[in-house]
């Protein structure tokens, strides 16, 4: 035996890089839509699921995911890893997440620049963090740890926020750019989050996007938002995922696609979930923008 050939058992899971799925649009996967989706036949796009919903041992959730996965790429979107928290990652949760990656071999894997657990309490919300050199180090450690556990890079999602931290010393875009550069992770650009945060903090969404490392973006999220009032009675946007994508977010999306090129794009809709054809139509609108850009690229190349 050639000593240069290393045994395949040196690592429990091989390191993988997902197969690119190209410029296709997908939707959140909601089980109530499964019969309608199956009746439609295989879709061109992908389906995204919240990882935590499939961390039970068995039963109908896994059956639904196995069914949809037969004909569609899956995007595994974690919402509870607390990458942005100061505490160490939850090893048991990381193991569950790794198990899902190994079982379903998703095309895309993502998590949030946020935290949701402190000490023993899980708050079930994406909570914000200050942007400092110290938190940057901690977030990079957490991304490294997660990527090592699942043996592949993740896409890290920019947050929507309602408050800022007095102690922050760098911009969100600088922070995110540094995480990507240091960990090798990709980025999930949530354009609705950019729009919500820009409105809430009084900055320009276009400036933010101009400063965002678009080359690292491996997925885009689009979603709807709601409006409330802040302490001064002025507009405060809420990242509610409960309605159609706003016109302003569509416009920003076209700008991003023109600059970045076509990347997988998700229509995210998590509450007041509409019938399947409504969600499908939102995805078709994103697909039309992606296709228009790809056709223009093909004409340029010709």
């Amino acid at each position: 035996m050639n000593a240069a050939i290393r045994p395949l058992t040196s690592a429990p899971m091989p390191r993988r890089y997902s197969l690119p799925i190209g410029g296709v649009a997908g939707t959140s996967f909601k089980h109530e839509h499964l019969p309608a989706i199956l009746e439609d036949g295989p879709q061109r796009g992908f389906f995204e699921v919240h990882a935590e919903n499939y961390m039970g041992a068995g039963g109908p959730p896994h059956r639904a995911l196995e069914t949809i996965r037969k004909d569609h790429p899956i995007s595994l979107h974690g919402v509870c890893m607390s990458i942005g928290g100061p505490a160490p990652l939850d090893r048991a949760h990381l193991a569950r997440f790794s198990g899902l990656v190994a079982r379903y071999q998703p095309a895309l894997v993502s998590e949030h620049l946020a935290w949701s657990t402190h000490e023993t309490s899980f708050f079930n919300d994406l909570l914000p963090l200050p942007y400092t050199k110290a938190t940057l180090d901690r977030v990079c450690d957490h991304v490294d740890e997660m990527q090592e556990a699942i043996r592949r890079p993740i896409l890290l999602e920019n947050p929507s926020t309602y408050v800022a931290f007095r102690e922050s010393t760098m911009s969100e875009t600088d922070f995110i750019r540094s995480v990507a550069a240091r960990t090798g992770c990709g980025l999930l650009l949530d354009i609705n989050n950019v729009f919500v945060s820009a409105s809430n903090h009084g900055f320009s969404a276009l400036d933010y996007l101009a400063d965002f490392p678009l080359a690292d973006v491996g997925e885009i999220h689009l979603a709807g938002h709601a409006a409330q009032a802040d302490d001064e009675g002025e507009l405060l946007l809420i990242d509610s995922h409960d309605g159609p994508v706003s016109d302003a977010v569509w416009k920003l999306y076209e700008i991003v696609v023109a600059r970045r090129g076509a990347v997988p794009t998700l229509i995210e809709w998590d509450s007041q979930i509409p019938d399947w054809p409504v969600l499908r139509a939102e995805a078709a609108a994103a697909q039309a923008i992606l296709d228009r850009h790809q056709a223009a690229g093909a004409r340029h190349a010709a």
Partner: protein, 260 residues
């Protein structure tokens, strides 16, 4: 390693999330010095509303019985006292039945906690590992003198909930969509919860059936389980009892005992 001062943001931010009496943490702000109280309240609201929704999703019959306003208030008290400790929300609310039992405003509904216990067992069965249940004729080939010593492997989804009230009837009426008529709550009812394939089924056990099933699930022999059931309910029908449990999908394998 002690926490460095700059990473105390999570402790400071978390402290007021479930406590409306506390002010918003001073470490956060709006843009250009704008106030952050209502902005911070968005997070408070997200946490509380989403956890109430999680409890409502686990306990729909309890919510239907109490009405949404009563349920929201009861759930809010509970989640402030007992926030989730796991990011898996389908695991949340294990302490909710006991909370309902001592919740002062629910004392007029003494069976409500047991309805909640069935709903909690229902969700555990829903997420339990997949396994093929025993076929109906599983015991047909076993010699009569080996029956008393046999033991059975419980299906991962099987659960028993005992109640001194008519809890199975109340549960069934309030998980369905139809109108609920007046129910006499005073008859003791025990529930068998199974998920032989992908649908969770809640059945009413006959008197003595819960003791019989619980002992078999705990790994006691058929003979021992039968003796306990007969001790409690002298006219308990053992043949019908074991056939009913197997038919419900309560077991995955049978281990023959030694010949008597």
């Amino acid at each position: 390693m002690p926490l460095e001062p700059h990473i105390s943001y999570a402790a400071d931010f978390a402290a007021a999330l479930l406590d409306p009496a506390r002010p918003a943490p001073s470490l956060v702000t709006g843009p250009n010095g704008k106030a952050a109280a209502r902005r911070y309240d968005v997070y408070r609201n997200n946490v509380t509303v989403s956890l109430i929704a999680a409890l409502a999703a686990i306990y729909p019959a309890v919510q239907r019985i109490t009405g949404a306003d009563f349920f929201r208030a009861m759930a809010r008290f509970h989640l402030r006292e007992t926030p989730p400790t796991s990011p898996l929300l389908f695991d949340y609310g294990r302490d909710f039945p006991a909370f309902i039992e001592r919740y002062p405003h629910a004392q007029a509904l003494p069976w409500l906690a047991d309805v909640a216990r069935i709903e909690r067992a229902w969700l555990d069965a829903y997420h339990a590992a997949d396994a093929s249940p025993l076929p109906p004729a599983a015991l047909a080939g076993i010699a009569p003198d080996q029956l008393a010593g046999l033991t059975l492997t419980p299906h991962p989804a099987v659960r028993i909930v005992r109640s001194p009230f008519s809890t199975v009837t109340i549960f069934a009426a309030n998980r369905a969509d139809g109108p609920v008529h007046r129910i006499d709550a005073s008859a003791a009812e025990d529930a068998l919860i199974t998920r032989p394939e992908f649908d969770v089924v809640v059945r009413l056990l006959p008197p003595g059936g819960a003791t019989f099933a619980s002992e078999l699930i705990a790994g006691r022999s058929l003979g021992d389980a039968a003796a306990s059931a007969l001790d409690e309910t002298p006219d308990f029908d053992i043949a019908a009892g074991i056939a009913g449990l197997i038919d419900a999908g309560a077991f995955t394998s049978v281990l023959p005992g030694d010949a008597a």
